[in-house]
Subunit: 215 residues, 4 copies
């Protein structure tokens, strides 16, 4: 705790500005949110990447989205082994406690985590294969996706694997009994999206056509 | 994947609005971000809670913050056991690949995850103690914090444990060798924050006084 | 007026998005609507409830429906006593000035106003019986409907009273001389609908069978 | 009830389309809304006019806005006289039962109700002054606004009175004890808006400058 340091001054200034404007204008709403608790309509699972902020893209304000962000927007398969699974805990809380109506998995272009997975799976990043690499072990979740795209032309593999990161997560979500049950009973829907950062594009997976299309 | 469904129409409309305004106005910047990659100054670890959006509080735009969000903004201790650790992967990527200069851990008031931990540790939520409870196992990370606050008056325990969730994370961050090394060499600083949702307050941990103070 | 505050920023952003897309695409139509005035085909009387938007259900665009919304979609009986009657004013304007061809009264499931009426009429909500309760006095309009459903099994009373709220309004509409005249002369038709929010169902009252049927 | 007629076929077709698409895509959300009740963030008071749909302008979906619509978006002064006040009932329900954080009063250009008020107050519409005119009596609420604009150049009076219809409503809202109390305690904020139909403009009242400005 000796290592906790004061916030850089530019962030304190910005916070003070937010307090005097955005907070002030929404004070009543923040009071309600504090008193009555959150009741978000959707859970969003997106990447930690600093270039993708889902609240901006969807004009969402406080209270709308319960947002989990990890490397490459991955959901591991259901595994109730008594160990720590932060993503599974977030999904469990969203579905069983908050009873969200949607889970939106949002992938994106130029994803560093997916690029690392591609390098690792194609044998070009031995350091990621080491037991001690947290990024490598985390990206192992995406190996089934790599198997499906490895024979594509090399220049298309990254984008294809980014989309697989979304689909693998959707697949794994369905291995959670409480997710599958809510989906089956019409109380939860899953959505697979991919955002092109440079072009500002948004594609969704169309199960009938079997690929991603612009929304 | 058969379970991926079209996005609700109101979100498509809002996305189209974003594309025609925010994206359009920042097109050059989005192109640069896509072409040259991200270079965020800070990593933020905050809660999934829909009521706390750090980009709003700190007026942060695309490219500024690499954001990991999980239940109760927790970082587990360093444990390179070859298993999947999503939070540790995010920290590793931020520090070793992106070389962020700050890690900000942001806790908040009225935290459902912390409340669950409080109930569990005080014996009032046996369902969270089961092996199969992802939320319960995840909140085990905060048990050392509970030990430090359990003798406080009951009505102050929740806020105290929310602050402990930040401090436990800071402590655990220092168990990662690559974090400790960067901190020691002055290339990385850690920041412990707590946000009061209703009042819009922001406190930071002051190591000299040994408690949280308004920024 | 000192109490008028700036709009929350997320709504300004969404408005800007609408302006750049929906407005832009329909600019010519909006200009015509402004220059030539509205000429709606139907008046809709529905509830204020946030879960029922008639424009969505009927794919209606600007200019189609003249919409009055109040608690429980009620029309009071004709009473030209020189006092303020907002609902009667809306009906008068729609029929005599706009000459709409239809008046659609749309009730819905899970109606809080109807539930309040049920509690009040069965003696379980004395606070609604007080002179100062605007909701209670407003729901008095529905008392004749309660008389018709009070002997039904308790679990069916709420839905039955929701449907009565539509029928009482249709009945009361016919007490307005200008409504009765237009109906008699074939220039106006009245429609009684009830929407099941959860199931997305829509029922209309069939005078021959004497009850509501799916459309 | 003999007067309830089947819905025009084009509306049944559109409803069937909505059921198969919008409802289907949002089924989970509609189920939640039905099971758990509404919890709208804001109440909107707007005009019945067919050309102004607030959900479109603000990209709002089911569950977000509790919407009361009457002629000229008027709120009468607080008057707990035991008579029927539909608008007051809607405000009471929104503030005391739903505990909304915002009340947005939305006026608009080319308002027929306001035009009628202008004609009536300037002596050009004696029929509206009759005791039996519901529209006339309803527009009496706006007479204090007319007093403030009657000396303006004639061609600017209509727009000025439309804006007064918003401000009179804000003023009257503050005469409701439960509104004033929530505003004072920071649990409710009031917003005064005016929409230019033809140009797609949106203005808000700025108390410091004392007039409406583009948002």
């Amino acid at each position: 705790m000796q290592n906790a340091r004061p916030l850089p001054n530019y962030l304190i200034k910005r916070y003070n500005g937010w307090k005097a404007t955005t907070y002030k204008e929404n004070e009543a709403w923040y009071h309600r949110l504090a008193d009555e608790g959150q009741r978000p309509r959707a859970m969003v699972i997106s990447c930690c990447d600093s270039r993708v902020h889902v609240t901006s893209i969807f004009g969402a304000d406080n209270g709308e989205f319960f947002i989990h962000r990890n490397i490459a927007n991955l959901v591991p398969p259901y595994k109730p082994d008594g160990l720590q699974h932060g993503t599974s805990a977030a999904v469990e809380y969203a579905v069983t406690a908050l009873k969200v109506a949607h889970i939106i998995v949002l992938g994106h272009s130029n994803c560093g985590g997916v690029q690392g997975c591609l390098s690792m799976c194609s044998g070009k990043a031995p350091e990621l294969e080491e037991k001690s690499s947290f990024v490598g072990r985390w990206m192992d979740i995406l190996r089934p996706g790599y198997e499906r795209i490895k024979d594509l032309p090399e220049e298309t593999q990254a984008a294809a694997l980014e989309k697989e990161s979304v689909l693998v997560s959707i697949q794994n979500l369905m291995t959670f009994p409480f997710v599958a049950k809510e989906v089956k009973e019409g109380r939860l829907t899953l959505h697979a999206l991919w955002n092109d950062i440079g072009e500002g594009g948004l594609e969704h997976y169309d199960p009938e056509q079997g690929h991603f299309l612009s929304v």
